[in-house]
């Protein structure tokens, strides 16, 4: 296998092989917590941390892991990491834990982490695997925040509500009320709203991909015409 460049890992994680839009993974935590942009951001950051460390650990141990039992081995590694993160946050980052606490065990249900361990970290060196984890995590976080933001704006008329509770008083400036005296649109706060918004976002991504491809094709055709002339 040839060496994967960091640029390609970045592109894959953020767009072409995005955890949600392209791989359709991690939908359980995605749909569950994106009621607000703030919650999405919190879940994204916690997942990114686990993605990076699990990529690193799986990659370091990839020589020792027997192929037949690699999946249970990966699950063991990921579950151990998540539990350690959960306990450490509860003990030393208690304020953050009280807000994010609910999401931490949910990270185990994020099949994207297992997916990256299997598809990437078990075949690449630790540095690349950690970087892949970072990029996949950032890509995931972007979708979480986007989905959370759309649902929050339509559902409650606010953006980044309670950001100060999650990220500290310094981030209070993020909290904005976009539509004052808005009655709210309950459907978008509840899980069905997550499915609806996700559907539109995915359609939007496909549309952009389609446009890019058509433009590239037109350019190729133009180039071919020029050659013939």
């Amino acid at each position: 296998m040839s060496q994967v460049g960091f640029g390609e890992i970045t592109r894959e994680g953020l767009w072409t092989n995005n955890v949600v839009f392209a791989q359709l993974l991690a939908l359980c935590p995605l749909l569950a917590v994106t009621g607000t942009a703030t919650n999405g951001l919190g879940m994204g950051l916690a997942s990114t941390a686990v993605l990076i460390t699990s990529g690193l650990v799986v990659s370091l141990l990839r020589g020792a892991i027997a192929t037949d039992v690699r999946i249970p081995a990966f699950i063991l590694i990921i579950a151990t990491l998540v539990t350690l993160v959960d306990m450490a946050m509860n003990a030393w980052l208690h304020e953050l834990y009280k807000v994010l606490g609910l999401f931490i065990p949910l990270i185990v249900t994020n099949c994207a982490i297992l997916g990256r361990a299997e598809a990437f970290a078990s075949r690449h060196d630790p540095l690349r695997s950690a970087y892949d984890g970072l990029m996949m995590g950032v890509g995931f976080t972007l979708v979480l925040v986007l989905l959370g933001a759309v649902r929050e704006i339509i559902g409650a008329g606010t953006l980044f509500a309670d950001a100060a509770l999650l990220l500290g008083p310094g981030m209070a400036f993020l909290e904005t009320v976009l539509i004052p005296d808005y009655k709210g649109f309950l459907l978008f706060v509840l899980p069905p709203g997550a499915f609806i918004v996700l559907g539109f976002l995915m359609a939007g991504k496909r549309l952009i991909d389609f446009r890019i491809e058509r433009r590239a094709e037109a350019r190729r055709a133009a180039a071919a015409d020029a050659m013939e002339v």
Binding site: G35, G63, M87, N90
Partner: protein, 218 residues
């Protein structure tokens, strides 16, 4: 760099021959992994056990101070506990007299249990009530949290006789407490839980305030 060399290794299965080909290897490897994972988790648990217990105690003290004003007591109510009929009761004392008690009551809302910490004065009036945990719908039912709405403060100073028993309900049910637009089940559950707490106190008043009686007798 080392990573360049590593990246060229093909699939992990073809990497090494020898012990990895042995039939027992996967079993041993997984067993070893489980052992290391268990050791790590045990170590993590031991290291975080005390800080977590401390944080919990701090949380409890912080919640108690919200439902029983600090000025009412000279003891640490979180350490002054009494178990009455399965309820852990925290008692605030001053000069050896019970000046307030607090205990948890549970209501069942739209998303499951709503745990409310209820603080009462010796006459059975609400000193304060705070929701400790719930799983109600964000944006609707979560107005029972004091951080989001001051609805829960509306219970302060009330008791079983004030308002009369029939009025201990949300307005929709003919009571005096507001429901939220789009969420009636949640406030209904909280009102019911607090009323239940007051009745619990009324029925066991003597036992809950026992120290006062003992002090008076001695």
């Amino acid at each position: 760099m080392a990573e360049g060399k590593d990246a060229k290794t093909p699939a992990p299965a073809e990497e090494k021959r020898g012990i990895k080909q042995h039939a027992v290897y996967p079993t041993l490897m997984l067993g070893l992994f489980a052992l290391v994972a268990a050791a790590l988790l045990g170590w993590g648990y031991e290291t975080t056990k005390d800080p977590i217990a401390e944080r919990r105690a701090e949380d409890l003290r912080a919640s108690l101070s919200q439902v029983i004003p600090e000025t009412r007591h000279d003891n640490d109510p979180s350490a002054e506990t009494l178990v009455v009929d399965g309820h852990t009761v925290y008692r605030a004392m001053r000069d050896g007299r019970v000046t307030g008690i607090a205990f948890e009551v549970v209501g069942y809302g739209y998303g499951g249990a709503i745990v409310v910490l209820l603080g009462l004065d010796p006459d059975g009036r609400v000193l304060g009530a705070r929701v400790l945990s719930h799983a109600e719908t964000p944006g609707l039912g979560d107005k029972i949290e004091v951080a989001r709405d001051d609805w829960i403060l509306g219970f302060d100073g009330l008791s079983l006789g004030d308002p009369p028993s029939a009025k201990w309900a949300v307005k929709k049910d003919g009571g005096r407490f507001d429901q939220f637009s789009g969420a009636t089940i949640t406030p209904r559950a909280v009102v019911k839980a607090i009323k239940g707490g007051l009745e619990f106190f009324e029925a066991r008043r003597a036992r809950l305030l026992a120290a006062e009686i003992l002090e008076a007798g001695s």
